[in-house]
């Protein structure tokens, strides 16, 4: 295997593949990146067993030769060393030459590396073919789906399925839902597809993937039995799926509201931050008092003291009501909604309440109140 390659393009592919390579790899072989020069170009692959990223550097981009003076072949090189070397070299073109399957000579006009490398046969077999049901989603929509739901997925795996975001495609709508039992986040986007499918993708994988397609307008998603495949241009990413049936949470969302508070997101967030200076890390409880005359946030902390805060700009419908809320969950929800104003809608003080934008019904968050005040 031998080639000269444009350093910037090579580095871009190495950085993408490296996102799938974690410092806590289950197998030492996965500390390597696989380089495979085929008729498509230089395929650069990294995996951590959860997600796999393959970025392909083509021979030409437009009229510009990117890979020249080559001989096809494959090898494995330590991902960190190769990426850092390529990042720190200064030449426009890097030469890459594998000798005896055991040493890769990598150089430009001033730097010379000889990196130990391993036969590509040692690498696990990875299938990155778009088999199964395929549809296309706008990149911005995909990123919103992930970013507006991922915070609500469970971080640890008491029940593995709750670490996933459930994606359901039906009637031309792609819906995402995530829950950690204390809250549920949902987001819907339109998709031009008649497919009907539902799948559980680890939230952490989706966050990694959402960051990988900068510059893309659309992303192709293919769902098979074992994996979800995301692709655009020269980059393909696969994620394993979490088997099982995602809990049906639609019944948890109240339909009728007796108390509706509308506030400015930024003012409400600032007020939460100020009273939260005294918050208790155990449950982050604050009290929300709502009435026609005033909206007040307050907190009591036996050790530290107390705080209270009035909201100046609000619209409120309902009787006087007090409810204890987890300030962290409410802040997360408001931030995820990215709306200038938000509504908090309650049926009773003890039932889960929803947080939503008054002008955009594509995303709704459900939060369980606390029972401490």
């Amino acid at each position: 295997m031998r080639l000269n390659i444009d350093r910037n393009q090579f580095l871009k592919a190495l950085l993408s593949a490296s996102k799938a390579i974690s410092s806590k790899n289950p197998m030492p072989i996965l500390d390597n990146v696989k380089l495979d020069l085929t008729e498509k170009g230089l395929e650069v692959t990294g995996t951590n067993g959860e997600i796999t990223v393959r970025s392909t550097v083509p021979y030409m981009i437009g009229d510009k030769p990117i890979i020249t003076n080559y001989q096809q072949g494959a090898t494995l090189v330590n991902a960190y060393t190769l990426t850092e070397g390529a990042r720190k070299m200064e030449g426009e073109t890097i030469s890459f030459d594998v000798i005896d399957n055991s040493v890769a000579k990598i150089g430009d006009n001033r730097t010379g590396y000889k990196l130990n490398c391993i036969s590509a046969d040692e690498y696990p077999d990875i299938v990155l073919e778009a088999v199964g049901k395929t549809f296309t989603v706008k990149r911005g929509d995909f990123v919103s789906l992930v970013e507006q739901c991922a915070h609500a997925a469970a971080k640890t795996a008491q029940d593995a399925i709750l670490t996933a975001i459930n994606l359901t495609l039906r009637d031309g709508t792609l819906s995402a839902i995530a829950t950690d039992s204390a809250r549920v986040a949902t987001k819907k986007v339109k998709v031009d597809s008649e497919l009907d499918l539902t799948v559980n993708v680890p939230a952490k994988s989706l966050l990694d993937i959402a960051g990988l397609f900068e510059g893309a307008k659309t992303i192709d998603i293919s769902i098979s039995d074992k994996q979800a495949l995301f692709s655009f241009d020269n980059t393909v990413v696969s994620s394993r799926l979490i088997p099982g049936t995602y809990p049906n949470l639609s019944a948890a969302f109240p339909k009728v509201f007796n108390y509706i508070l509308q506030v400015n997101s930024q003012e409400f967030l600032s007020a939460i931050e100020r009273v939260s200076v005294l918050s208790n890390a155990r449950d982050n409880a604050i009290k929300l008092l709502m009435s026609d005359e005033k909206i007040e946030l307050s907190i009591k902390n036996r050790e530290k003291g107390s705080a209270n805060e009035e909201i100046n700009n609000f619209r409120y419908t309902g009787e006087r009501m007090e409810v204890a809320i987890n300030s962290l969950l409410v802040s997360d929800a408001i931030k995820a909604l990215r709306s200038e104003d938000i509504e908090l809608c309650f049926q009773t003080e003890s039932r889960p309440f929803i947080v939503r934008s008054p002008s955009d019904d594509s995303s709704v968050e459900l939060i369980t109140p606390l029972h401490v005040y």
Copy 2:
């Protein structure tokens, strides 16, 4: 104790005092900031036993009233809570009112805190009087002294005195020296004083202090038996001293050099970074080969591979010579010198060598070579 105070000035003083309050305080009482309203203004004090910071908010700044509607007194309030509260409040003026010595009511027109507070009598006695020998140094010079030497001080306290920077004032020159046994950093600045003194101040304290006097042109330094006091404007900082006689290292610096290499700092640092991709965390050893024809940096790592790098722009005086150097120590020294070009000057390949700027002799670093290649 009662006052209304300009929030920005109060916050500035709280942030300064908080720099002396660490999360790992030796005594819970030191989690508090001491507020003492005297005829000078509001004295805001924080300490961690190593350094103490007192910042005083005056009653007036120019024509502008800063503290109004007051009654003198003192109290202790949790530093984190008070600082975060003052940071997040939005009013221009904060009212502060201690009730029964046990609760401080703090508020502006929208936020109200009631913070638990403690009698000021519980706070340790702290003396922040400028007794002893006093001299004045330009702020820029003081920051250079600290920043060009602190990296060479020992991080852990095998021998406590090596965690200090030794400051010596003699013949109108203030000299700083620090060593961790593998290297020595020195820096001199001119001071308008005829005092003669030497003192060991913990390097960590000096780094904290150097960041506290932004905006100052000069800093007054007072040295007594037990502490060093640094002051400017409304802020006074004290540091404990480390007793004992600092080792005399002047004999360690070679006077005659047989091999002198001059290079561009940035080019040399980049070359070190590139070969260090393969470095071994144990000793960070790289080999430097110097001759009239070429200057080469190289590294061998049994597990990872090897690298070599030629320096294009250099001036070299001496025979061909090879030396093993610790790349981290050499990089630290070059960065601390802040000079466009640097010189590496050797007497032999096994004796300590010096790193210095060819155009500025106020700072010199001595480094012990390795014996591995």
